[in-house]
Amino acid sequence: MTRAASLVAWLRLESRAAFMYRAKLMIGLFGWVVPLAFMALWNLAADGSGIMSANQTSAYYLVILLTTNLFLGGEIIFGFASRVYTGELSGLMLMPFPSLLAILPAPLMQALIRCAPLTVALGLLTWALDADFQISVFTALIAVLLGFFGWIASVLFCYLYALTALWIGKSEGILGLFFGFWWVLSGLVAPSVFMPGWLGWVMRLSPLWLAVGGMGELLSGVVTPSWWMPVSLGVWIAGLAALLRWAWPRAMRRFEAIGI
Protein backbone atom coordinates (compact mmCIF):
# COMPACT_ATOMS: atom_id res chain seq x y z
CA MET A 1 0.00 0.00 0.00
CA THR A 2 2.76 2.44 1.00
CA ARG A 3 4.69 1.36 -2.10
CA ALA A 4 1.77 2.21 -4.41
CA ALA A 5 1.12 5.47 -2.57
CA SER A 6 4.83 6.30 -2.87
CA LEU A 7 4.77 5.67 -6.60
CA VAL A 8 1.73 7.93 -7.01
CA ALA A 9 3.37 10.64 -4.89
CA TRP A 10 6.52 10.34 -6.96
CA LEU A 11 4.54 10.67 -10.19
CA ARG A 12 2.83 13.79 -8.81
CA LEU A 13 6.23 15.23 -7.95
CA GLU A 14 7.56 14.46 -11.43
CA SER A 15 4.55 16.12 -13.05
CA ARG A 16 5.56 19.35 -11.28
CA ALA A 17 9.17 18.90 -12.44
CA ALA A 18 7.98 18.19 -16.01
CA PHE A 19 5.87 21.33 -16.23
CA MET A 20 8.61 23.40 -14.63
CA TYR A 21 10.97 22.61 -17.52
CA ARG A 22 8.85 23.34 -20.60
CA ALA A 23 11.67 23.12 -23.13
CA LYS A 24 12.49 19.53 -22.14
CA LEU A 25 8.84 18.58 -22.44
CA MET A 26 8.52 20.18 -25.87
CA ILE A 27 11.74 18.63 -27.17
CA GLY A 28 10.35 15.21 -26.20
CA LEU A 29 7.64 15.75 -28.83
CA PHE A 30 10.28 15.69 -31.55
CA GLY A 31 10.68 11.96 -30.90
CA TRP A 32 7.64 11.62 -33.19
CA VAL A 33 9.76 12.57 -36.17
CA VAL A 34 11.37 9.12 -36.42
CA PRO A 35 8.18 7.01 -36.82
CA LEU A 36 6.72 9.65 -39.13
CA ALA A 37 9.83 9.55 -41.34
CA PHE A 38 9.66 5.75 -41.61
CA MET A 39 5.95 6.04 -42.31
CA ALA A 40 6.65 8.38 -45.23
CA LEU A 41 9.24 5.94 -46.57
CA TRP A 42 7.05 2.82 -46.35
CA ASN A 43 3.99 4.62 -47.67
CA LEU A 44 5.91 5.06 -50.91
CA ALA A 45 6.99 1.42 -51.10
CA ALA A 46 3.96 -0.29 -49.60
CA ASP A 47 1.45 -0.28 -52.45
CA GLY A 48 3.85 -1.98 -54.84
CA SER A 49 4.83 -4.63 -52.29
CA GLY A 50 1.54 -6.50 -52.22
CA ILE A 51 2.05 -7.06 -48.49
CA MET A 52 0.60 -3.88 -46.99
CA SER A 53 -1.21 -0.92 -48.51
CA ALA A 54 -0.10 2.68 -47.87
CA ASN A 55 -3.20 3.19 -45.70
CA GLN A 56 -2.21 0.16 -43.63
CA THR A 57 1.38 1.39 -43.13
CA SER A 58 -0.08 4.74 -42.04
CA ALA A 59 -2.22 2.93 -39.47
CA TYR A 60 0.79 0.85 -38.41
CA TYR A 61 3.03 3.87 -37.82
CA LEU A 62 0.31 5.86 -36.05
CA VAL A 63 0.09 3.02 -33.51
CA ILE A 64 3.88 2.98 -33.34
CA LEU A 65 3.76 6.68 -32.44
CA LEU A 66 1.70 5.78 -29.39
CA THR A 67 3.70 2.71 -28.33
CA THR A 68 7.10 4.37 -28.79
CA ASN A 69 5.90 7.33 -26.76
CA LEU A 70 5.17 4.98 -23.87
CA PHE A 71 8.35 2.95 -24.36
CA LEU A 72 10.79 4.14 -21.67
CA GLY A 73 13.84 2.06 -22.63
CA GLY A 74 16.32 4.88 -23.20
CA GLU A 75 15.32 6.74 -20.06
CA ILE A 76 15.51 3.60 -17.92
CA ILE A 77 18.85 2.43 -19.31
CA PHE A 78 20.63 5.79 -19.35
CA GLY A 79 18.84 7.01 -16.21
CA PHE A 80 20.08 4.00 -14.27
CA ALA A 81 23.63 4.32 -15.63
CA SER A 82 23.78 8.00 -14.67
CA ARG A 83 22.53 7.22 -11.16
CA VAL A 84 25.28 4.62 -10.83
CA TYR A 85 28.03 6.98 -12.00
CA THR A 86 26.91 9.95 -9.92
CA GLY A 87 26.31 7.79 -6.85
CA GLU A 88 22.70 8.96 -6.67
CA LEU A 89 21.75 5.29 -6.46
CA SER A 90 23.20 5.19 -2.92
CA GLY A 91 20.61 7.72 -1.76
CA LEU A 92 17.82 5.76 -3.41
CA MET A 93 18.99 2.51 -1.83
CA LEU A 94 18.60 4.04 1.61
CA MET A 95 14.95 4.94 1.11
CA PRO A 96 12.29 2.43 2.17
CA PHE A 97 11.21 2.10 -1.46
CA PRO A 98 12.55 -0.16 -4.23
CA SER A 99 15.37 1.76 -5.87
CA LEU A 100 14.62 0.33 -9.33
CA LEU A 101 11.08 1.70 -9.20
CA ALA A 102 12.44 5.14 -8.34
CA ILE A 103 13.87 5.43 -11.85
CA LEU A 104 10.47 5.08 -13.46
CA PRO A 105 8.33 8.08 -12.37
CA ALA A 106 10.23 10.84 -14.24
CA PRO A 107 10.12 9.32 -17.77
CA LEU A 108 6.68 7.81 -17.21
CA MET A 109 5.20 11.16 -16.25
CA GLN A 110 6.84 12.84 -19.26
CA ALA A 111 5.36 10.15 -21.51
CA LEU A 112 1.90 10.47 -19.96
CA ILE A 113 1.93 14.25 -20.41
CA ARG A 114 2.98 13.86 -24.06
CA CYS A 115 -0.05 11.58 -24.55
CA ALA A 116 -2.40 14.60 -24.50
CA PRO A 117 -1.04 16.35 -27.64
CA LEU A 118 -0.35 12.93 -29.15
CA THR A 119 -4.03 11.94 -28.96
CA VAL A 120 -4.98 15.09 -30.87
CA ALA A 121 -2.19 14.49 -33.41
CA LEU A 122 -3.25 10.86 -33.91
CA GLY A 123 -6.84 11.90 -34.61
CA LEU A 124 -5.76 14.50 -37.17
CA LEU A 125 -3.25 12.19 -38.87
CA THR A 126 -5.77 9.30 -39.06
CA TRP A 127 -8.13 11.62 -40.91
CA ALA A 128 -5.46 13.25 -43.09
CA LEU A 129 -3.73 10.01 -44.12
CA ASP A 130 -6.91 7.94 -44.34
CA ALA A 131 -5.25 5.35 -42.12
CA ASP A 132 -6.78 1.90 -42.50
CA PHE A 133 -7.43 0.46 -39.02
CA GLN A 134 -9.09 -2.95 -38.88
CA ILE A 135 -10.63 -3.25 -35.45
CA SER A 136 -13.01 -5.88 -34.14
CA VAL A 137 -13.93 -6.46 -30.51
CA PHE A 138 -11.49 -9.36 -30.30
CA THR A 139 -8.72 -7.34 -31.96
CA ALA A 140 -9.32 -4.48 -29.53
CA LEU A 141 -9.18 -6.88 -26.57
CA ILE A 142 -5.91 -8.41 -27.74
CA ALA A 143 -4.52 -4.92 -28.48
CA VAL A 144 -5.30 -3.69 -24.96
CA LEU A 145 -3.69 -6.77 -23.42
CA LEU A 146 -0.72 -6.37 -25.72
CA GLY A 147 -0.32 -2.72 -24.78
CA PHE A 148 -0.46 -3.40 -21.06
CA PHE A 149 1.66 -6.57 -20.93
CA GLY A 150 3.99 -5.23 -23.60
CA TRP A 151 4.74 -2.14 -21.54
CA ILE A 152 5.51 -4.25 -18.46
CA ALA A 153 7.70 -6.66 -20.44
CA SER A 154 9.62 -3.81 -22.06
CA VAL A 155 10.25 -2.14 -18.67
CA LEU A 156 11.54 -5.43 -17.21
CA PHE A 157 13.72 -6.02 -20.28
CA CYS A 158 15.18 -2.52 -20.05
CA TYR A 159 15.80 -2.86 -16.30
CA LEU A 160 17.80 -6.01 -17.00
CA TYR A 161 19.72 -4.33 -19.79
CA ALA A 162 20.37 -1.31 -17.56
CA LEU A 163 22.09 -3.50 -14.95
CA THR A 164 25.01 -4.03 -17.36
CA ALA A 165 26.15 -0.55 -16.26
CA LEU A 166 27.34 -2.22 -13.03
CA TRP A 167 29.59 -4.76 -14.78
CA ILE A 168 31.07 -2.64 -17.51
CA GLY A 169 32.90 0.45 -16.33
CA LYS A 170 32.43 2.45 -19.50
CA SER A 171 29.07 1.13 -20.55
CA GLU A 172 28.11 3.76 -23.15
CA GLY A 173 28.96 1.31 -25.98
CA ILE A 174 26.78 -1.53 -24.79
CA LEU A 175 24.01 0.86 -23.85
CA GLY A 176 24.23 2.41 -27.33
CA LEU A 177 24.04 -1.08 -28.83
CA PHE A 178 20.59 -1.36 -27.33
CA PHE A 179 19.26 1.18 -29.79
CA GLY A 180 20.47 -0.95 -32.71
CA PHE A 181 18.42 -3.89 -31.44
CA TRP A 182 15.52 -1.67 -30.51
CA TRP A 183 15.18 0.03 -33.89
CA VAL A 184 15.14 -3.27 -35.77
CA LEU A 185 13.43 -5.67 -33.36
CA SER A 186 10.71 -3.30 -32.18
CA GLY A 187 9.40 -2.79 -35.71
CA LEU A 188 10.30 0.89 -35.79
CA VAL A 189 12.44 0.54 -38.94
CA ALA A 190 9.89 -1.65 -40.71
CA PRO A 191 6.95 -3.93 -39.92
CA SER A 192 8.00 -7.56 -39.39
CA VAL A 193 6.19 -8.58 -42.59
CA PHE A 194 8.68 -6.52 -44.63
CA MET A 195 11.65 -8.25 -43.06
CA PRO A 196 13.35 -11.42 -44.40
CA GLY A 197 11.58 -14.52 -43.09
CA TRP A 198 13.99 -15.46 -40.31
CA LEU A 199 14.31 -11.87 -39.06
CA GLY A 200 10.55 -11.49 -39.09
CA TRP A 201 10.27 -14.54 -36.84
CA VAL A 202 12.97 -13.27 -34.49
CA MET A 203 11.14 -9.96 -34.28
CA ARG A 204 7.79 -11.55 -33.55
CA LEU A 205 9.29 -13.59 -30.73
CA SER A 206 11.03 -10.64 -29.09
CA PRO A 207 9.35 -8.67 -26.29
CA LEU A 208 10.37 -5.44 -28.04
CA TRP A 209 8.16 -6.22 -31.05
CA LEU A 210 5.33 -7.47 -28.85
CA ALA A 211 5.52 -4.21 -26.89
CA VAL A 212 5.88 -1.79 -29.81
CA GLY A 213 5.29 -3.08 -33.34
CA GLY A 214 2.95 -5.94 -32.49
CA MET A 215 0.01 -3.71 -31.72
CA GLY A 216 0.61 -1.77 -34.95
CA GLU A 217 0.52 -4.90 -37.13
CA LEU A 218 -2.52 -6.15 -35.24
CA LEU A 219 -4.57 -2.95 -35.64
CA SER A 220 -3.57 -2.47 -39.28
CA GLY A 221 -4.81 -5.97 -40.08
CA VAL A 222 -1.45 -7.46 -41.07
CA VAL A 223 -1.42 -9.97 -38.24
CA THR A 224 -4.47 -12.02 -37.34
CA PRO A 225 -5.45 -11.44 -33.70
CA SER A 226 -4.61 -14.44 -31.60
CA TRP A 227 -4.18 -15.36 -27.96
CA TRP A 228 -0.58 -16.35 -28.62
CA MET A 229 0.46 -12.69 -28.50
CA PRO A 230 -0.59 -11.85 -24.91
CA VAL A 231 0.28 -15.40 -23.80
CA SER A 232 3.84 -15.15 -25.14
CA LEU A 233 4.12 -11.76 -23.45
CA GLY A 234 2.99 -13.37 -20.21
CA VAL A 235 5.76 -15.96 -20.60
CA TRP A 236 8.25 -13.17 -21.30
CA ILE A 237 7.09 -11.23 -18.23
CA ALA A 238 7.43 -14.31 -15.98
CA GLY A 239 10.90 -15.07 -17.35
CA LEU A 240 12.15 -11.49 -17.21
CA ALA A 241 10.77 -10.96 -13.70
CA ALA A 242 12.48 -14.15 -12.48
CA LEU A 243 15.73 -13.11 -14.15
CA LEU A 244 15.55 -9.63 -12.64
CA ARG A 245 14.85 -11.09 -9.21
CA TRP A 246 17.99 -13.20 -9.60
CA ALA A 247 20.13 -10.42 -11.08
CA TRP A 248 19.15 -7.49 -8.83
CA PRO A 249 20.87 -8.67 -5.60
CA ARG A 250 23.97 -9.54 -7.62
CA ALA A 251 23.86 -6.14 -9.26
CA MET A 252 23.66 -4.51 -5.84
CA ARG A 253 26.71 -6.44 -4.67
CA ARG A 254 28.41 -5.25 -7.83
CA PHE A 255 27.40 -1.66 -7.01
CA GLU A 256 29.13 -2.15 -3.67
CA ALA A 257 32.21 -3.53 -5.39
CA ILE A 258 32.72 -0.45 -7.51
CA GLY A 259 32.61 1.48 -4.27
CA ILE A 260 30.43 4.49 -5.05
Binding site: T2, A5, S6, V8, A9, W10, L13, R16, A17, M20, Y21, T86, G87, E88, S90, G91, M93, L94, M95, P96, F97, R253, E256, A257, G259
Partner: protein
Amino acid sequence: MISANQVVHLEGVTRTFHVVERTTGFVATVKNFVHRRYKSIAAIQDINLTANTGEILGILGANGSGKTTTLKCVSGLLTPSKGEIDVLGFIPHERSVNFLRQIAFVMGQRSQLHQDVCVLDSFELRRVVYGLELAAYASSRDELVDLLDLASFADTPVRQLSLGQRMRCELAAALLHRPRLVLLDEPTIGLDFEAQNAIRAFVRNYVNEHEATVLLTSHYLQDIEALADRVAVLAAGRLVFNGSLQDLRSLKSDRQVLSLYGDDIDLTAAPWASLIACDLPGEINIEVPKREAPAILAQLSALPGVRGLTLADPPLEAALRDLYARTEEIKHDPSS
Protein backbone atom coordinates in the same frame (compact mmCIF):
# COMPACT_ATOMS: atom_id res chain seq x y z
CA MET B 1 28.06 -8.91 23.68
CA ILE B 2 25.78 -6.01 22.75
CA SER B 3 24.57 -3.84 25.63
CA ALA B 4 21.00 -2.54 25.83
CA ASN B 5 21.76 1.07 24.92
CA GLN B 6 24.14 0.24 22.09
CA VAL B 7 22.80 1.48 18.77
CA VAL B 8 25.82 0.63 16.63
CA HIS B 9 28.07 -2.36 17.16
CA LEU B 10 30.90 -3.27 14.79
CA GLU B 11 33.01 -6.31 15.55
CA GLY B 12 36.09 -7.15 13.51
CA VAL B 13 34.68 -5.46 10.42
CA THR B 14 36.77 -5.58 7.27
CA ARG B 15 35.75 -4.39 3.84
CA THR B 16 37.90 -5.31 0.86
CA PHE B 17 37.55 -4.10 -2.72
CA HIS B 18 38.95 -6.03 -5.67
CA VAL B 19 40.09 -3.59 -8.32
CA VAL B 20 41.84 -3.89 -11.65
CA GLU B 21 45.50 -2.90 -11.48
CA ARG B 22 45.90 0.02 -13.86
CA THR B 23 49.25 0.55 -15.50
CA THR B 24 50.95 3.42 -17.26
CA GLY B 25 52.44 3.34 -20.76
CA PHE B 26 50.98 1.99 -24.01
CA VAL B 27 52.58 -1.49 -24.00
CA ALA B 28 51.64 -2.12 -20.39
CA THR B 29 48.10 -0.94 -21.09
CA VAL B 30 47.78 -3.37 -24.03
CA LYS B 31 49.17 -6.20 -21.88
CA ASN B 32 46.65 -5.28 -19.22
CA PHE B 33 43.90 -5.39 -21.87
CA VAL B 34 44.78 -9.01 -22.72
CA HIS B 35 45.58 -10.19 -19.24
CA ARG B 36 43.76 -8.38 -16.45
CA ARG B 37 45.43 -8.23 -13.06
CA TYR B 38 43.45 -7.59 -9.93
CA LYS B 39 44.48 -6.46 -6.51
CA SER B 40 42.64 -6.38 -3.20
CA ILE B 41 42.43 -3.16 -1.25
CA ALA B 42 41.20 -3.29 2.33
CA ALA B 43 39.32 -0.02 2.83
CA ILE B 44 38.77 -0.85 6.49
CA GLN B 45 40.31 -3.64 8.54
CA ASP B 46 39.26 -5.28 11.76
CA ILE B 47 37.23 -2.34 13.05
CA ASN B 48 35.67 -2.68 16.50
CA LEU B 49 33.43 0.24 17.30
CA THR B 50 30.27 1.00 19.23
CA ALA B 51 27.96 3.98 19.62
CA ASN B 52 25.34 4.38 22.30
CA THR B 53 21.94 6.02 22.43
CA GLY B 54 22.22 9.81 22.43
CA GLU B 55 25.93 9.76 21.69
CA ILE B 56 27.76 11.71 18.99
CA LEU B 57 30.73 9.74 17.73
CA GLY B 58 33.20 11.73 15.66
CA ILE B 59 35.17 9.74 13.09
CA LEU B 60 38.41 11.33 11.99
CA GLY B 61 41.04 10.29 9.52
CA ALA B 62 43.04 11.48 6.55
CA ASN B 63 41.65 11.14 3.01
CA GLY B 64 41.21 7.48 2.12
CA SER B 65 41.46 6.30 5.73
CA GLY B 66 38.09 4.51 5.59
CA LYS B 67 35.72 6.96 7.28
CA THR B 68 33.05 6.92 4.57
CA THR B 69 33.42 3.16 4.06
CA THR B 70 32.70 2.71 7.77
CA LEU B 71 29.56 4.82 7.50
CA LYS B 72 28.48 2.93 4.37
CA CYS B 73 28.86 -0.38 6.21
CA VAL B 74 26.81 0.97 9.12
CA SER B 75 24.09 2.26 6.77
CA GLY B 76 23.92 -1.02 4.87
CA LEU B 77 25.18 0.39 1.56
CA LEU B 78 28.16 -1.95 1.84
CA THR B 79 28.28 -5.53 3.03
CA PRO B 80 31.34 -6.20 5.18
CA SER B 81 33.79 -8.75 3.75
CA LYS B 82 34.45 -9.96 7.29
CA GLY B 83 33.10 -9.28 10.76
CA GLU B 84 29.68 -8.45 12.15
CA ILE B 85 27.59 -5.33 12.31
CA ASP B 86 24.50 -4.80 14.41
CA VAL B 87 22.63 -1.52 14.06
CA LEU B 88 19.43 -0.97 16.05
CA GLY B 89 19.06 -4.76 16.21
CA PHE B 90 19.23 -5.14 12.41
CA ILE B 91 21.84 -6.45 9.99
CA PRO B 92 22.31 -3.27 7.94
CA HIS B 93 23.13 -4.73 4.51
CA GLU B 94 19.81 -6.57 4.44
CA ARG B 95 18.32 -3.06 4.19
CA SER B 96 14.97 -4.06 5.62
CA VAL B 97 12.25 -1.41 5.43
CA ASN B 98 12.01 -1.20 9.24
CA PHE B 99 15.74 -0.55 9.45
CA LEU B 100 15.72 2.09 6.70
CA ARG B 101 12.86 3.92 8.43
CA GLN B 102 15.05 4.42 11.51
CA ILE B 103 18.23 5.75 9.94
CA ALA B 104 19.35 8.75 7.89
CA PHE B 105 22.55 9.24 5.95
CA VAL B 106 23.52 12.75 4.90
CA MET B 107 26.39 12.92 2.44
CA GLY B 108 27.90 16.37 2.20
CA GLN B 109 29.09 15.90 -1.34
CA ARG B 110 26.00 14.18 -2.68
CA SER B 111 22.46 15.48 -2.85
CA GLN B 112 19.49 13.30 -2.00
CA LEU B 113 16.87 15.90 -2.86
CA HIS B 114 15.03 16.15 -6.18
CA GLN B 115 16.91 18.91 -7.97
CA ASP B 116 14.08 20.15 -10.17
CA VAL B 117 11.33 20.78 -7.65
CA CYS B 118 10.84 22.97 -4.60
CA VAL B 119 12.27 21.86 -1.28
CA LEU B 120 8.85 21.41 0.30
CA ASP B 121 7.75 19.17 -2.58
CA SER B 122 10.73 16.90 -1.89
CA PHE B 123 9.74 16.85 1.80
CA GLU B 124 6.20 15.85 0.86
CA LEU B 125 7.49 12.91 -1.18
CA ARG B 126 9.51 11.71 1.80
CA ARG B 127 6.39 11.93 3.97
CA VAL B 128 4.66 9.39 1.75
CA VAL B 129 7.70 7.16 1.20
CA TYR B 130 8.43 7.00 4.95
CA GLY B 131 4.71 6.52 5.72
CA LEU B 132 4.50 9.49 8.12
CA GLU B 133 1.17 10.58 9.62
CA LEU B 134 0.14 14.02 8.34
CA ALA B 135 0.11 15.64 11.79
CA ALA B 136 3.47 14.19 12.81
CA TYR B 137 4.95 15.20 9.46
CA ALA B 138 3.62 18.76 9.68
CA SER B 139 5.00 19.24 13.17
CA SER B 140 8.36 17.74 12.23
CA ARG B 141 8.57 19.81 9.01
CA ASP B 142 7.62 23.07 10.73
CA GLU B 143 10.12 22.47 13.50
CA LEU B 144 12.94 21.74 11.03
CA VAL B 145 12.05 24.70 8.79
CA ASP B 146 12.14 26.90 11.87
CA LEU B 147 15.32 25.50 13.44
CA LEU B 148 17.28 25.46 10.19
CA ASP B 149 15.81 28.76 9.03
CA LEU B 150 14.56 27.38 5.71
CA ALA B 151 11.40 29.48 5.36
CA SER B 152 12.84 32.04 2.94
CA PHE B 153 13.84 29.44 0.32
CA ALA B 154 11.59 26.46 1.05
CA ASP B 155 9.64 27.14 -2.14
CA THR B 156 12.76 27.41 -4.33
CA PRO B 157 13.88 24.56 -6.62
CA VAL B 158 16.84 22.74 -5.06
CA ARG B 159 19.15 23.38 -8.04
CA GLN B 160 18.85 27.14 -7.43
CA LEU B 161 20.01 26.98 -3.80
CA SER B 162 23.45 27.90 -2.52
CA LEU B 163 25.58 25.11 -1.05
CA GLY B 164 24.83 26.21 2.52
CA GLN B 165 21.09 26.41 1.87
CA ARG B 166 21.12 23.03 0.15
CA MET B 167 22.97 21.37 3.03
CA ARG B 168 20.44 22.70 5.53
CA CYS B 169 17.65 21.32 3.33
CA GLU B 170 19.43 17.95 3.02
CA LEU B 171 19.66 17.77 6.78
CA ALA B 172 16.00 18.67 7.24
CA ALA B 173 14.88 16.13 4.62
CA ALA B 174 16.96 13.41 6.25
CA LEU B 175 15.50 14.10 9.69
CA LEU B 176 11.82 14.48 8.77
CA HIS B 177 11.12 10.90 9.82
CA ARG B 178 12.93 11.38 13.17
CA PRO B 179 15.62 8.75 12.64
CA ARG B 180 17.19 7.12 15.68
CA LEU B 181 20.55 6.93 13.96
CA VAL B 182 21.96 9.78 11.88
CA LEU B 183 25.08 9.31 9.77
CA LEU B 184 26.69 12.57 8.72
CA ASP B 185 29.49 12.36 6.18
CA GLU B 186 31.27 15.72 6.08
CA PRO B 187 28.08 17.73 6.54
CA THR B 188 29.87 21.10 6.69
CA ILE B 189 32.19 20.63 3.72
CA GLY B 190 32.55 23.81 1.68
CA LEU B 191 30.31 25.86 3.95
CA ASP B 192 31.12 29.30 5.38
CA PHE B 193 31.64 29.55 9.12
CA GLU B 194 28.14 30.84 9.83
CA ALA B 195 26.54 27.93 7.99
CA GLN B 196 28.91 25.54 9.78
CA ASN B 197 27.92 26.96 13.15
CA ALA B 198 24.23 26.74 12.30
CA ILE B 199 24.54 23.07 11.37
CA ARG B 200 26.60 22.26 14.47
CA ALA B 201 24.05 23.96 16.74
CA PHE B 202 21.23 22.16 15.02
CA VAL B 203 22.82 18.69 15.28
CA ARG B 204 23.53 19.17 18.99
CA ASN B 205 19.98 20.33 19.55
CA TYR B 206 18.53 17.42 17.58
CA VAL B 207 20.49 14.87 19.62
CA ASN B 208 19.45 16.46 22.90
CA GLU B 209 15.80 16.63 21.91
CA HIS B 210 15.41 13.22 20.33
CA GLU B 211 18.11 11.12 22.00
CA ALA B 212 19.38 10.20 18.54
CA THR B 213 22.78 8.68 17.92
CA VAL B 214 25.06 10.45 15.46
CA LEU B 215 28.11 9.17 13.62
CA LEU B 216 29.91 12.15 12.17
CA THR B 217 32.90 12.32 9.85
CA SER B 218 34.56 15.63 9.12
CA HIS B 219 37.84 17.16 8.10
CA TYR B 220 36.98 20.20 10.21
CA LEU B 221 38.20 19.68 13.74
CA GLN B 222 35.83 22.40 14.91
CA ASP B 223 32.94 20.08 14.01
CA ILE B 224 34.39 17.33 16.14
CA GLU B 225 35.36 19.60 19.02
CA ALA B 226 31.94 21.23 19.07
CA LEU B 227 29.90 18.05 18.78
CA ALA B 228 31.63 14.76 19.48
CA ASP B 229 31.25 13.01 22.81
CA ARG B 230 33.78 10.47 21.66
CA VAL B 231 36.29 10.25 18.85
CA ALA B 232 37.45 7.38 16.66
CA VAL B 233 40.52 7.94 14.51
CA LEU B 234 41.20 5.80 11.44
CA ALA B 235 44.53 5.47 9.67
CA ALA B 236 44.92 3.33 6.54
CA GLY B 237 41.64 1.58 7.33
CA ARG B 238 42.53 0.70 10.92
CA LEU B 239 41.15 2.10 14.12
CA VAL B 240 44.13 3.75 15.81
CA PHE B 241 42.29 5.66 18.50
CA ASN B 242 38.92 5.34 20.24
CA GLY B 243 38.25 7.59 23.23
CA SER B 244 37.17 11.00 24.46
CA LEU B 245 38.46 14.31 23.12
CA GLN B 246 40.28 14.73 26.42
CA ASP B 247 42.01 11.39 25.91
CA LEU B 248 42.99 12.48 22.40
CA ARG B 249 44.47 15.71 23.69
CA SER B 250 46.33 13.88 26.45
CA LEU B 251 48.28 11.93 23.82
CA LYS B 252 50.29 15.10 23.61
CA SER B 253 50.11 16.07 27.29
CA ASP B 254 53.88 15.80 27.71
CA ARG B 255 54.49 18.36 24.95
CA GLN B 256 53.98 22.09 24.57
CA VAL B 257 54.09 24.40 21.61
CA LEU B 258 56.40 27.36 21.72
CA SER B 259 55.66 30.10 19.20
CA LEU B 260 58.32 32.64 18.29
CA TYR B 261 57.37 35.89 16.56
CA GLY B 262 59.87 38.09 14.75
CA ASP B 263 61.85 38.60 11.55
CA ASP B 264 64.94 36.75 10.35
CA ILE B 265 65.08 34.36 13.30
CA ASP B 266 67.73 31.83 12.42
CA LEU B 267 67.29 28.47 14.09
CA THR B 268 69.02 26.35 11.50
CA ALA B 269 72.11 25.85 13.58
CA ALA B 270 70.25 25.54 16.86
CA PRO B 271 69.42 22.17 18.46
CA TRP B 272 65.68 23.01 18.37
CA ALA B 273 65.57 23.11 14.56
CA SER B 274 64.49 19.48 14.44
CA LEU B 275 61.53 20.33 16.67
CA ILE B 276 59.98 22.87 14.32
CA ALA B 277 56.37 21.84 13.76
CA CYS B 278 55.30 24.75 11.62
CA ASP B 279 57.15 27.60 9.93
CA LEU B 280 55.06 30.59 8.84
CA PRO B 281 56.16 34.07 7.74
CA GLY B 282 57.10 35.89 10.93
CA GLU B 283 56.20 32.91 13.13
CA ILE B 284 57.95 29.67 14.08
CA ASN B 285 56.22 26.98 16.12
CA ILE B 286 58.34 24.50 18.03
CA GLU B 287 57.05 21.43 19.79
CA VAL B 288 59.05 20.89 22.98
CA PRO B 289 58.92 18.46 25.92
CA LYS B 290 56.74 20.08 28.61
CA ARG B 291 59.32 19.83 31.42
CA GLU B 292 62.03 21.45 29.30
CA ALA B 293 59.79 24.23 28.00
CA PRO B 294 60.73 26.95 30.56
CA ALA B 295 64.45 26.47 29.95
CA ILE B 296 64.09 26.50 26.15
CA LEU B 297 61.83 29.54 26.42
CA ALA B 298 64.49 31.43 28.33
CA GLN B 299 67.18 30.54 25.80
CA LEU B 300 65.06 31.38 22.75
CA SER B 301 63.97 34.75 24.10
CA ALA B 302 67.61 35.82 23.98
CA LEU B 303 67.95 35.07 20.24
CA PRO B 304 68.36 38.06 17.90
CA GLY B 305 65.21 39.02 15.96
CA VAL B 306 62.75 37.51 18.44
CA ARG B 307 60.00 40.03 19.20
CA GLY B 308 57.64 37.80 21.13
CA LEU B 309 57.12 34.30 22.52
CA THR B 310 54.09 32.27 23.61
CA LEU B 311 53.82 28.87 25.22
CA ALA B 312 50.64 26.79 24.87
CA ASP B 313 49.33 23.24 25.03
CA PRO B 314 49.41 21.60 21.61
CA PRO B 315 46.25 21.86 19.52
CA LEU B 316 44.21 18.78 18.72
CA GLU B 317 45.77 18.77 15.26
CA ALA B 318 49.13 17.87 16.79
CA ALA B 319 47.77 14.66 18.32
CA LEU B 320 45.99 13.84 15.10
CA ARG B 321 49.07 14.50 13.03
CA ASP B 322 50.87 11.80 14.98
CA LEU B 323 47.99 9.37 14.54
CA TYR B 324 47.62 10.10 10.83
CA ALA B 325 51.36 9.59 10.48
CA ARG B 326 50.71 5.96 11.35
CA THR B 327 49.12 5.55 7.91
CA GLU B 328 52.46 5.00 6.20
CA GLU B 329 53.68 2.80 9.05
CA ILE B 330 50.56 0.58 8.72
CA LYS B 331 50.85 0.46 4.93
CA HIS B 332 54.40 -0.82 5.20
CA ASP B 333 53.76 -3.16 8.08
CA PRO B 334 50.05 -4.04 8.42
CA SER B 335 50.71 -5.98 11.61
CA SER B 336 51.96 -2.86 13.40
